[in-house]
Amino acid sequence: MIKTVLVANRGEIACRILRACSEAGLESIAIFADNDAGSMFTELATIAVPLVGDSIAETYLNQAQILSIAAEYGADAIHPGFGFLSERADFAQAVIDAGISWIGPSPKAIEMMGDKMTARMTMKAAGVPVIPGEEIESEDEATMISDIIDASERVGYPLLLKASSGGGGKGMRKVEDPTNLEEAIKGARREAIAAFGDGRVYVERLLTGSKHVEIQVLADKHGKTIHLGERECSVQRRHQKVFEESPCPVMTEGLRSRMGEAAVMAAQAVDYVGAGTVEFLLASNGEFFFLEMNTRIQVEHPVTEMVTGVDLVREQLRIAAGEPMSCGELMIRGHAIEVRLYAEDASNNFLPAIGPLAMFRAPTGPGIRLDTGVREGDLVTPNYDPMLAKLIVWAPSRPEALQRMRRALDEFVVLGTTTNIRFLRELCDNRDVISGRTDTMLIDRVWPDGWQPNHSQSSLDAALMVAAVSESAGLHRVQTQDVSVSEGPVSPFSTLNRRYP
């Protein structure tokens, strides 16, 4: 039995989980760093407890502090969300040792899948196809460089350097030819150390023209392990997914069942429990290769929820409480697309942007879901990941879903902070996106010299007119309440007296 869930995360995924807790009738605890006081997710929990400390290491990554809050406030389960401590086997173990339910797989499963090199080897042993490449065991910089240079000859170009502890594109480098290899190794290693405290980097062949297709799996403690179909997440910039959909446009029933079987095998190989994702590269000839397994809920889980009708977070809560999963037979219906709204300048190499959300008006209407942790008036700071929201649409068919996404993006108004909304909107008009011929190189291929917005002179003129009218009429938007004491002195005493007339 679980009664109180501590959510060891922030932002939109914390909101997602806290709402699921509230719907499941569970009490919830949010934890928040100083710079998150007032963030939306803190308002959705039964109680919100401040974290002491300035850096992420001192707050959201601070295992001891989080465990002591869990003990003090009586949490009997911890949901890690994604990122932060979600794939830290030592934290999962510490949670379990403290007598608290860990909403996720066993520490052993996290460990085996979390180290990308170990995962490759485990999968090879289990008979799941892996990408041609080589594990590199050395940790010392000089040895690593020479080992990788050796391996690169065997693997061939173009190749990918990947941090063994990596994720989210951090510590990853694409290398086209040997001249840039050494600089790339150094950069990947440095980024990996900064992000994960582990500089190990390995080499994989870069399979150009292939699709990123991943299978959602769910396993309960009653021996049931199922897959919930696939998501295609080929469209990526800087190895960050930006456009995700389900089903994959080229999927067939036969391929889905082969990939689903491989994913279930992968999960069973590590006695997996809970929700997880097995990522594959799908080559244009229909061959697929294991990439990695994410042992947590994923950013793009909503597209699976929209097409399968399964509430993945709710199932996570059920499974952690020892109940059997509630899913019946797999029933995939219609088409779902998610785009990730980042505070970033798509016209300038996707550099993260900051600023106030002076206006934040999300589109509404049937078939539209917005998962976000921000609202109008919030400030986008450089402290955390620049993802502001996930916009998800569902429609009976893929063309209708794309049409709905275009309409939704056109209606989405975010002012005060640069975002990639327009980039996403134009992506929906790309020929290959429309036909479903998406692969992991799409963005580089379509915009080799970077993307620039395609607005017409007449739109710009209209915008100039709007600026002139706004300026003339004094439409200076009030961003926050004017909080000032308006009258009289403030009493040091407080009372509430009723009198009946």
Partner: protein
Amino acid sequence: MQHEFKVDGEMVEVTVAKDGQEWILGNHVAIISDNGRIMVKQPDGRTSFAHSAKVGDTWWVHFEGHIFCIEKTEAGSIDNDSDAGMTAPMPGKILEVKVANGDSVEAGQLLLIMEAMKMEHRIVAPDDGVISTVNFSPGDQVQQGDVLVEMTE
């Protein structure tokens, strides 16, 4: 009413007229709705709804799915912005500096690498030129807008 704006590196002088509730520019008409919405009637009879918000000196305008950042400048002022000064796009830390004073660089050449939001970002030269000043060293913290490197052409 006359205003001077800067947008996409271009200076534009806009004079709007007003007739009752209607603002007029050429054959466009705009009417102010509430809550930051502005109705724009186009010559072909279509109406669109623009949204605007001012942050600092910049008007952010959303129009038909496009977003424009339009800087209000003082009328008659000259554009003395040094586009050749590479500024920090956000707070972060300098990781590597690849150039020194006096170096000739080509457009697109890597000048320095900074870290922000746990990712590395490459700052490249916007044009060909000669480096005149390097303001930071590896390990330095920088704030958004700090000029990192200055160049002459």
